[in-house]
């Protein structure tokens, strides 16, 4: 590790090394690369890192939660004396296994599932804190609750841009739950519209998603996969749906549109396909290209910022043949550099190498190194 680390430092060059930046690998504790790869990707999603470090700064002594462990880990990376090297995320992994029975073993796990669990857990912790802060608010909770209230206030205000305009829409569920900064960063609001082809009445349901799981097809782009996710379909024949306006079964057109784009757009490529009849999971190694920039085509007309431009910030790559075997690595962009994190090893790579991780055009090979989770970060002018 030492040799490799110093080599990286040399390669980047002392004068080129971004100030206040650390490229620290994470030690593998036996099949924990699915955790390491996602943590590295998240660390290099700047808005997320900043919030986690902010949490650390504001919550010196708190009970041990997964969020607290993550904050400690990020803080420890950010305050390393050395610019390169590696550390062992021991406490975090122990805590994660304790909280999630399913992951409490030494098997290889799905990085996407881990990501979902982690984000949910962090969000819950913050929400609990906000609620606690609120209930104590009047009496004694100044010290503990100040932060929480501030957070909630900030979240609410920002939301008025996205959520406020939607009230005219018929909504089957009104999401009244409080927003946290986790929502602000990851949450996409999508509208599922059902349009009666007879009377043109539209029923729409809003849904919030922390990431979009898209189907993969051979020789396509992530743009196309996203467009399929949002594709329009017609419900006809036996599947006609009751239209409340017409009071009868009618043909409907169903489609999904993005109403609010998140700060970090997380795209999960559904490369693992469960085959019921064989009781096993197959990996789809299809070549799916992903550009360094992205916009989303299928935004609703009342979308807040439909032209929002994204830059690729990180990619979690799955290497190998199946969901329960193989290896995870991550590729991240930091300042002008692209880095490859393979557990404790860190390398600078040329962005043209990204082509190696699009997938395979041949169906014959079973093993592949393929982009699995893409993290696109909004390029909002500052």
């Amino acid at each position: 590790m030492g040799a490799n680390a110093s080599q990286l430092e040399k390669e980047i060059g002392a004068d080129q090394f971004p100030p206040n930046e650390h490229y620290i690998g994470l030690v593998n504790f036996g099949n924990t690369c699915y955790i390491n790869s996602v943590l590295q990707a998240l660390y290099f999603c700047k808005p997320f890192r900043e919030k986690i470090l902010e949490y650390k700064a504001k919550n010196k002594r708190t009970k041990e939660t997964l969020l607290a462990c993550l904050a400690d880990l990020f803080y420890s990376i950010a305050t390393q004396k050395k610019k390169v090297g590696s550390i062992a995320p021991k406490k975090f992994i122990a805590r994660f296994r304790k909280e999630n029975v399913k992951f409490d073993n030494y098997m290889q796990q799905d990085a996407h599932e881990f990501f979902v669990q982690l984000i949910d857990s962090i969000n819950e912790t913050i929400m609990e804190k906000q609620l606690a802060g609120r209930s104590q608010g009047g009496s004694s909770g100044r010290v503990g609750g100040g932060d929480g209230e501030q957070q909630a206030g900030g979240g609410g205000q920002q939301d008025s841009g996205g959520g406020g305009g939607n009230t005219q829409h018929q909504q089957q569920q009104q999401q009244q739950q409080e927003n946290t900064w986790v929502h602000e960063i990851f949450q996409a609001v999508v509208t599922r519209e059902l349009r009666c082809l007879n009377c043109e009445a539209v029923r729409s349901t809003d849904e919030v998603l922390n990431n979009l799981s898209v189907e993969v097809h051979q020789n396509t782009s992530i743009t196309h996969c996203l467009r399929c996710f949002f594709s329009t379909e017609t419900i006809s024949a036996e599947n006609k749906v009751l239209c409340e306006n017409c009071c009868s079964l009618q043909e409907h057109q169903k489609r999904t549109r993005v109403k609010k784009l998140p700060t970090i757009l997380v795209l999960h490529l559904k490369r693992f396909q469960f085959l019921g009849q064989y009781n096993r999971t197959l990996k789809l190694s299809h070549r799916v290209v992903f550009p360094l920039e992205l916009r989303v085509f299928d935004t609703s007309l009342d979308a807040v910022n439909p032209d929002r431009l994204y830059d690729l910030a990180a990619v979690v790559v799955h290497c190998g043949t199946g969901i329960n075997r193989g290896h995870y690595i991550s590729i991240v962009k930091s300042h002008r550099f692209w880095l490859l994190f393979d557990d404790d090893a860190v390398d600078k790579i040329d962005p043209s190498l990204m082509e190696e991780f699009y997938g395979l055009t041949s169906e014959l090979q079973k093993s592949s190194e393929t982009g699995y989770i893409l993290f696109y970060q909004a390029r909002d002018p500052t």
Partner: protein, 607 residues
């Protein structure tokens, strides 16, 4: 078994496709590839081998048969092949390549170009760009010429050559672009020098600069162009040879006056790098394709993006106009051009539109040659352009770009869809309601709000129009006016943030969350209109024609040539040109291939 979900719906690879003019058929005997086709292992990442590209040239004074006069060059992996291209008349003879070369694994060929001006039966000048940055000049016929530029230490540029082309009409000057973002002008007769070139700034403009070599005696490179950020992916000379269109990984198209080195136009992809570029045969439009899966049509005259096309499922690797199928009309009939007054054009020179030979040979009929500004007086001009594109999605798309679709004025966002979808609301003054709240002094681009709304052709903006209708259909009447009102306000705030910084809209519905855009940002300007500001076209034909991603497309008088990453060069015979058959484009009754792609002639229905 391994194919369950996705491969089950796998599309069949087509061997023919139908357009308005008839059926194009794959001619299997005219397939070119490496002589003994062993399965070239596409393993190892599956991505890093350079694209298989095709160059063609017609030698001028061949004593032999007419069909022996065309030479074809293509690269595949480490190898480069040159054959006589026998077209649709005779089957390919793969056992007799004119030339075949093998390269080092680290220095494989990436691009090539014949000099069409100097080509004779006794010798041709072929440029070959390599992965390591070197450029070779060879004569595959005589095998006597063997020059190298930027060789050895590669003191000029160590990055991949992405595109190499002879300057049209020049016997000795050529241009080479690299993934470093630099482009160099060479004279094949000059030496490259033994030491690193010292550059001196020669010309500078927005986003580019040109340098000369600072030496006593002239040496190569004559000029170094530094354009944008990131790799230059392709460049193309205009039909009149005067202009040069360059596309880069940073998503920019830049059009230069090649002689004066002035920047005359810019456009931006919707997102991602631009990978390919070509000019319409009359020089009025530049089309590029890229990582946004779109084709982008830019008008030379108006200096703006006039349309986009959506049909590919992955990155677009090649765009090329089919001048033989473009429809011409007299200038007088601008508005009323019908099919009767049009005629199919056929140029005698059959390689001028090839991707690798965008320099227009002089043998070409001259009517719309220099027509960068040719809408004038009495000349016939194109009213419907045929464009082809191929992509990493293994699809071939054909587009009919109608002149009227390309000449719609710049559309104002949102409000114009309001206008077009519901006249009542428009009448009640949505644009007017929006405008006063914005401002009075900075609505430069959008005076034409209402004018364009009355019509849209079928091919144009059908998608956006549909979406607009869909959305507006959903609202109850009461809500409608209120909502529209709001929208126009949000529109106003959007435009204001975009066009005049510092203006603060009182109504913060959108204003708060729309960041004030830097004036440098092209989004929402004529360089890169929003999706609803510009027509979105659909392809007329969209067919899967290969197993692997496609990397070459050349239109010829009697056929279309495509190349594929698996090393196959395919020839598609045009309707009515089939060897040994006189029937005109009547599909045989046995062909039961569904050609759902586009409008078909009433008589040409495939059974």
């Amino acid at each position: 078994m391994a194919g369950q979900g996705d491969t089950g719906t796998k599309e069949e690879i087509k061997t023919q496709f139908t357009t308005v003019e008839g059926v194009y058929r794959l001619l299997s005997p005219s397939e070119y590839s490496r002589p003994n086709r062993v399965a070239y292992s596409s393993s190892g990442g599956g991505g890093s081998t350079p694209a298989v590209r095709v160059s063609l040239v017609k030698v001028s004074d061949s004593p032999g048969h007419d069909h022996d006069r065309t030479k074809i060059c293509f690269n595949y992996g480490r190898e480069l092949f040159v054959y006589t291209y026998r077209g649709i008349k005779k089957a390919a003879d793969l056992t007799k390549p004119i030339d075949k070369r093998s390269y080092n694994k680290e220095d494989v060929p990436t691009c090539h170009d014949f000099n069409s001006k100097t080509a004779t039966a006794d010798g041709v000048s072929l440029l070959v760009g390599l992965l390591g940055g070197q450029i070779q000049l060879i004569d595959p016929i005589t095998k006597e010429v063997n020059k190298a530029y930027n060789a050895g230490e590669r003191l000029i540029d160590k990055t991949k050559v992405t595109c190499v082309r002879w300057v049209p009409g020049s016997p000795n000057q050529f241009l080479a672009a690299h993934s470093s973002g630099h482009m160099y002008t060479y004279n094949e007769e000059l030496l490259c020098g033994m030491d690193r070139p010292h550059y001196q700034l020669f010309k500078q403009g927005e986003g580019y600069s040109v340098y000369t070599c600072k030496t006593k005696s002239t040496r190569n490179p004559l000029y170094r162009w530094v354009i944008g950020e990131g790799s230059i992916n392709e460049f193309a000379f205009s039909p009149c040879s005067k202009y040069l269109a360059v596309v880069s990984q940073d998503g920019y198209l830049k059009v230069f006056n090649f002689d004066t080195m002035d920047l005359v136009g810019t456009a931006r992809s919707y997102y991602g790098g631009l990978l390919c570029v070509c000019w319409s045969p009359d020089g009025r439009y530049v089309v590029c394709g890229g990582e946004d899966d779109l084709i982008t049509v830019w008008s030379y005259k108006e200096k703006r993006v006039v349309a986009r096309g959506q049909g590919h499922k992955s990155w677009v690797t090649v765009v090329a106009f089919d001048s033989f199928t473009s429809v011409y009309s007299d200038a007088e009939g601008v508005d009323g051009c019908s099919d009767d007054t049009t005629k199919h054009n056929s140029f005698s020179n059959d390689v001028h539109n090839s991707k690798t030979n965008s320099g227009v040979p002089n043998s070409r009929p001259s009517s719309n040659r220099n027509s960068v500004a040719s809408d004038s007086s009495g000349m016939s001009f194109i009213t419907s352009y045929r464009l082809g594109s191929v992509g990493q999605d293994t699809l071939l798309c054909l587009w009919d770009l109608k002149d009227d679709a390309l000449t719609q004025p710049y559309r104002r966002p949102r409000s114009s869809t309001v206008v077009s979808s519901s006249g009542v609301v428009a009448g009640s003054g949505v644009p007017q309601a929006g405008q006063p709240t914005t401002n009075s002094k900075c609505n430069s681009v959008k005076d034409s709000v209402a004018t364009d709304s009355s019509h849209h052709s079928h091919s144009a903006n059908s998608l956006t129009a549909k979406l607009a209708n869909l959305n507006f259909g959903e609202k109850k009447d009461k809500e409608k006016s209120e909502k529209d009102h709001k929208r126009s306000l949000s529109l106003a705030s959007k435009n204001s943030t975009q066009n005049c910084k510092g203006y603060v809209n009182k109504n913060q519905i959108v204003g708060s969350s729309v960041p004030s855009e830097d004036s440098q940002k092209p989004m929402g300007t004529p360089l890169c209109p929003r999706l609803d500001e510009c027509p979105m076209l659909e392809p007329m034909v969209c067919k899967k024609i290969g197993h692997e991603r496609l990397s070459g497309l050349v239109f010829r008088e009697d056929c279309v040539i495509t190349s594929c990453q698996d090393g196959c060069i395919l020839t598609w015979c045009r309707p009515g040109k089939q060897p040994g058959s006189n029937q005109h484009s009547t599909p045989s009754p046995t062909t039961a291939v569904a050609m759902g792609g586009g409008p078909m002639p009433s008589g040409g229905t495939v059974v």
